[in-house]
Amino acid sequence: MINLEIPKKFKPLATQANQVATEVFRPISRKYDEEEHAYPKELDMLAALIDGMNEGSDIGGAGAAGVRRESNGADEGNRNGSNLSTVLGIVELCWGDVGLLLSMPRQGLGNSAIASVATEEQLEHYGGKWAAMAITEPEAGSDSAAIRTTAELDGDEYVLNGEKIFVTSGDRADLIVVWASLDRSKGRAAIKSFIVERDNPGLKLDRLEHKLGIRASDTANFTLQDCRVPKDALLGSPEIDTKAGFGGAMQTFDNTRPLVAAMAVGVARASLEETRRRLEEAGVEIDYDRPALSQSAAAARYLEMEADYEAALLLTLQAAWMADNGKPNSLQASMAKAKAGRTCVDVSLGCVELCGGLGYGESELLEKWARDAKILDIFEGTQQIQLLIVARQLLGKSSSELK
């Protein structure tokens, strides 16, 4: 039975997340935008609260750790589970502040990776810890198959060597999920992810980045130098299966891309709501029944942006809902990420324009949201990478045919 409304059972969660966004995030939003690299200690208490929300809940939490896929979902009829609830929680929290969400202890994308592919034993061992994700290297961004970091088996340990950049929460997390190649001659099939404890002596922090936006979130660069991890720190299968290829590592993305899309949806909504309030103060009413072009140019532009926002939201819910129901969703996950990423940038910049000097100045958060927005069209796969993935799937192309 087709229904695209937020399920009732998630309303308390969304309300709670919205309260956190309103009461905790918004008041400190500007502070940590200005004090880049300062640790938002207000979040510690909050993280404990969210752990509590996650505990024993079928609904799942507001954070990134809740996206484990249920394999038996397909036969049980329609399911609204943790992927959907997580998306909804993230939308609300990022309506508050996306940089602060990214700084939430124990809710990192590394946690999503662990939740997506870890064995029960690994879950037990690493559960409750904060995990960052280290994929990008100076010479390998979108082309993650080209990563140069290596992992060599030495007795009961893997030895990791290489350089990782753009690691969100890399300095603050307890664990770093590092992508490395078991055998660089075997291409993408040999790329595996390894869980590295942050205090591992082989993991050296090089620096923290200064960024356009999401400044509350630290972005670390690391060198891995003879970094030794136990054999069971490898996530997924240690076999180099050239047929299955990249599947194992990329599977994480099917679960995390809707989450990043949800972040974009949250930022876009923040911009739209604030702009609407400001426009109404200025005497511009948005009328849904009258044709957009019969209204003021500002109202017409607003409606156009809100329509794109609606599409981004619904594509994101679709991708998460498919994950909840065990349906393959990499096409829809990438469509959602592409649409939400570009919409978020277009909407937040458009809102700055509509609000003029007020939007551009630092007295309001509109300019900050417009700066924060841009990363959402880049990380977890750029706009162009999403279009590539969508095109390859639609057109049945291999990566060698459609480069």
Partner: protein
Amino acid sequence: MPTATEEKGVAERSMGFGLRWLSRLAGSDLLDRIRIRKQVERALFSGTKNGFRTATAAGRTFGAAQKLTGPARQATGKPRSLFDLTPDEEQQMLQEGVRDFAAAEVRPVAAKADAERKAPSELLAQVNELGVNMLGVPEELGGVMHEQAAVTSVLIGEALAHGDMGIAYAALAPGAVATAIAHWGTPEQEATYLPSFTGEDTPAAALALLEPHPLFDPLELETKARRDGADWVLEGVKSLVARPTECELFVVAAEAEGIGPALFVIESGASGLSVEDEPAMGLRAAATGRLLLEGVRVPKTALLGEGKREDYVECVQRARVAWCALAVGTAQAALDYVKDYVNERTAFGEPISNRQGVAFAVSDVAIESDSMRLATYRAASRADQGHDFGREAALARRLCSQKGMKIGSDGVQLLGGHGYVKEHPVERWYRDLRAAGVMEGALLV
């Protein structure tokens, strides 16, 4: 005379619409049956040739078949508790049935219908046989749907427009009149007009809102209805009405003196009512024309329902969702077509789909057509659950208007010069998709 509903057992009625639909469609049996009837249908639907300006069709005499104490209305559905994108079983069967029908019967004749500005009468009769024009009619009045069926209407509109948007418009336009009367009409109007839509010999009919002037706003109508004694007298022009020369019944929007925008039921043949041909960029299979109202005098009972503003606004909203459904189906048709084309067409020694410049355009068509679809489904689903859906209808319309137009354009672009010529259907979709942001009224979910 027993109504259609009374003749059926409770069990059969409770089976719902889908099963009945399927039993009609299943196998070649049904289609064969329809084909045998072709001659009869042809006689019923023989097209009137469009002259420069003609009187409206002579039409039948509509008379109340039964007395109702209050208006019969479809129930709104129970609020649904879970997010779900899967149509229910009945809807899936309908969807598949109409998809097959659109592929087998509609698409093959679409180019000819476009060129001749005429949807084949037999085809329209077949679509009507499927029951699509009685989706909005309550069971008490011979309809098949107990609950409101906006989602079902959207799925059908989408599937039919995948075959052809112009034919879909022609085929679904009468249903808008039935739905309008069933949703907002008085008991007398329902009893008078609805029975004719549930039988076999259903009338062509049109819901006319749009007017031919720039920045048309359905809430600011130039067509006026003034009171004159016990009558209403209507003046104005309506634009892009489907098959107006064949219509036996019109529901016309006018600014009613002392009331505001409202709908009026006008039978063809009314004095002062005439039709002017109005060929357009697209939707040509619907043989669009203008409806001219020059001192058309109707009794006060012609005002649909009680002339409530919220009814009229809901009509505008439901029409927008219906046009979105057609745009979604047409956009999907374009996506399906260009996907195959860019994979087959070679340039510089390889398929053009190996180039990002081409492939990314296809990705965008897919992303935006899915955007359009989800926004449309949301609006329709809210309507069925009795929620406000004006916002969702407006946003779906923005998407279908802008992205739909872009998809039409990219569809042609991706085929290059081949897209510009009539050998391929993309140029027709380019023309048709522009309609989604222009049309108001005319169709309803």
